[in-house]
């Protein structure tokens, strides 16, 4: 069972060997790589095609130009980058300049003119380029943080949105959020967060921090990482496809920043997309690449539509991501843990039953026999000692509850009692609290104990225990 799943999942995921041999080699030609490995050339080519990029301020090509460079000609805020840098190395953002001429970074550290010259000079020496080959420096305007990311971005570090495009179809996406650990950089290996984005809606879903650790909230807050709507989503998909078309980079990762006023801007194209995006998306690239392959995509709009239809999440997932609540059907398999769970033999000590999700009932009910099987026999015996008849009147039941209520609750497993009305009268039933797992969410239910032996469902889940769920009556029950 598990092995079959494993095998099926293996067929979905892209590994490095396959990425290099089947996708990068045949689809990313030398000519295209030359464009995208040179950020200045990328800027030029994209601008020509009408794809927005951050404005270039100026560039320095060699040491002589660096010596003659007039640093006062730069505006107070700018980004310095190597033209052929790898993995964000050598990129620094400066927000202001103080009276002494020091530039100020987002974390308030200051960089003197000498240090700045040193940085520029080590970039030219090739410190951040592939194989340490000589490089150039360029300066571009900073991208102002979009309001949507205000509470998601650590100290003004800019969230960076990546779209993987193949055959003019966007196939997978995530946004990288800088954290304290990542030093304000969007590098997952350094501890940034990667939150998957649903291609259909542009809303974040699952997230990881570092290279694989799952994470739910923005660190230090109660803000969910899922459910963030990326602004300008359709425009981003459009520009991503257009950037692929113009550079002819077949298997491309296109990285965007979103400016508060100017909207999405392409910061770079990557000819060797990393594979961690699969972990953030909890899904593989391989099956998506195979699906997108060979489709004739005539227009950009068609590419967007195909991406959304083929690789977008379903609505249910979307609701779960926005509300943080699980969508469940009318009938669900639930797992009930035995009393005194023995952690070593977890599998043996739980029971899977079909439960009716009943919004018409307030309190959850569980069958007496099932409860005995789960190890609550002593609680049932304790309750039966009171020999409460099941044909009481309402008034009598109420009175009886007041009289012997405390005695009933004297047993450690019994957390309350409830008055139950049925066709042949009213009776009192004990309430027991027990841990269950409904569709992956673990909760403690408070169930009254009734003989449900003749009924289809041995458990019905009532409103009081459904706070964490949304019920979709059309959802199909899986045997």
């Amino acid at each position: 069972m598990n092995l079959i799943n494993f095998y099926k999942n293996r067929k979905k995921v892209l590994g490095i060997n396959e990425r290099n041999l089947k996708y990068i080699r045949p689809y990313n030609k030398k000519r295209s790589k030359k464009i995208v490995d040179d950020k200045l050339l990328t800027k030029k080519v994209l601008t020509k095609a009408g794809v927005p990029v951050p404005n270039l301020i100026t560039s320095i090509s060699n040491h002589t130009d660096l010596d003659n460079f007039d640093w006062n000609s730069l505006p107070n805020s700018f980004v310095i980058k190597p033209v052929s840098g790898l993995e964000g190395g050598g990129i620094e953002i400066f927000y202001n300049r103080d009276k002494l001429g020091n530039w100020i970074k987002s974390d308030k550290t200051k960089v003197s003119l000498d240090e700045m010259k040193n940085l520029a000079s080590s970039i030219i020496d090739g410190k951040f380029s592939l194989h340490n080959s000589p490089d150039r420096v360029f300066f571009e305007e900073i991208v102002k943080l979009h309001k949507a990311f205000k509470y998601y971005a650590y100290k003004g570090g800019a969230p960076d949105i990546r779209i993987i495009v193949f055959n003019n179809i966007p196939i997978m996406s995530y946004v990288r959020l800088p954290t304290k650990q990542s030093d304000g950089k969007g590098n997952l290996a350094k501890g940034a967060i990667g939150a998957a984005i649903d291609i259909a809606t542009g809303i974040t879903t699952n997230a990881i921090v570092g290279k694989k650790q799952p994470i739910e909230m923005v660190p230090g807050t109660n803000l969910r990482l899922s459910g963030l709507k990326i602004p300008y989503w359709n425009k981003i998909l459009r520009y991503a496809i257009e950037a692929q078309k113009i550079t002819e980079l077949g298997f491309a990762a296109i990285d965007f920043l979103i400016d508060r006023e100017k909207g999405p801007q392409v910061v770079e194209l990557n000819a060797r997309p990393g594979l961690s995006i699969q972990l953030a998306n909890r899904d593989g690239l391989k099956w998506r690449l195979e699906k997108a392959q060979g489709i004739k995509v005539k227009t950009t709009s068609q590419g967007i539509r195909l991406g959304k239809d083929l690789f977008g999440g379903d609505i249910e997932e979307e609701i779960e991501n926005i509300t943080g609540k699980q969508v469940i059907g009318f009938v669900e398999w639930i797992t009930i843990y035995n009393k005194d769970i023995d952690l070593k033999h977890k599998d043996k000590n739980k029971t899977k039953v079909k439960a009716k999700i009943d919004t018409g009932a307030l309190v959850t009910s569980i069958d007496t026999e099932l409860l005995i099987k789960l190890g609550y026999e002593s609680a049932i015996n304790h309750f039966n000692k009171f020999k409460i008849p099941d044909n009481l009147t309402r008034g009598k039941a109420k009175k009886l509850t007041q009289e012997i209520g405390d005695k009933i609750e004297a047993h450690e497993d019994i957390v309350g009692k409830s008055i139950v009305h049925s066709s042949h009268g009213t009776t009192i039933r004990p309430i027991i609290s027990l841990p269950v797992n409904i569709s992956g969410t673990k909760i403690d239910i408070r169930a009254n104990v009734v003989d449900r032996g003749k009924l289809i469902y041995s458990v019905i889940i009532g409103r009081r225990d459904l706070g964490q769920f949304i019920i979709d009556p059309t959802k199909k029950f899986k045997m």
Partner: protein
């Protein structure tokens, strides 16, 4: 011994060690390729592990024949001295922000000084073997330290250490293999076995399966249920 090899050694006077090393090279390179491509562990390129392996081999070569323990002992000692002094040199120069090449030159100089002191200490302690240590091996090891510092700068300390350890591990593994008498004899007897590794490499070169490491990396996706 194969007649051709016998002719080269007996008649032409080429050293047996040279022939063995030449015939072993394709095998050594193939193992590094498997280590990286199929298992997925990282090394400093394909070149560094080969250099380190041969440095170890040189260190184990004595006038009386090959001494595998001596090679291992001196090799590990030399590696530690080289990599530790390279890291110290890097940490020292990090703060003052130098250009890449002068910085690397300083790093290599400090490594050379480190090895020099190792020799001083060895002669003081009267460790005879160390004094006759092979110059070529020292140079090989020092050059490898450049790649370590390159990774250090780009990927940080942790990656640099992990890759260094990985590189040393594979080098030592291969060193044991090439020092194995039976294998050496087999190579001299069947020299045409050596180019057969070409076929192996063609297969590895077309390999699109997961690297062993990726089964761990993507564990969370692979163990997922259909319904999740």
């Amino acid at each position: 011994m194969h007649p051709l090899i016998e002719y080269l050694i007996e008649t032409s006077g080429i050293s047996e060690a040279s022939i063995v090393l030449l015939l072993m090279l394709p095998l050594v390179a193939s193992i590094v390729a498997i280590w990286r491509q199929i298992i997925g562990l990282r090394t400093f390129g394909i070149y560094a592990p080969i250099l380190i392996t041969f440095a170890f081999y040189q260190l184990g070569t004595t006038p009386e024949g090959h001494n595998i323990i001596q090679g291992l002992k001196y090799g590990i000692a030399l590696s530690i001295v080289v990599f530790v002094s390279a890291s110290i040199a890097h940490e020292l120069t990090k703060k003052i922000r130098l250009h890449y090449l002068p910085k690397m030159s300083i790093v290599l100089s400090i490594v050379a000084i480190g090895v020099f002191f190792m020799l001083v200490v060895a002669s003081y302690l009267k460790k005879g073997g160390f004094i006759s240590i092979d110059t070529l091996s020292i140079l090989l090891m020092i050059t490898v330290s450049e790649q370590m510092i390159g990774i250090y700068i780009k990927k940080g300390r942790k990656s640099a250490y992990l890759i260094t350890i990985g590189t040393l591990l594979i080098s030592i593994l291969i060193y044991f293999l090439i020092s194995w008498n039976k294998l050496q004899e087999a190579m001299l007897k069947y020299p045409y076995f050596s180019p057969l590794t070409l076929i192996l490499n063609l297969i590895i070169g077309k390999w699109t399966g997961f690297r062993l490491k990726e089964y761990f990396r993507f564990k969370s996706i692979l163990n997922q249920n259909e319904s999740d």
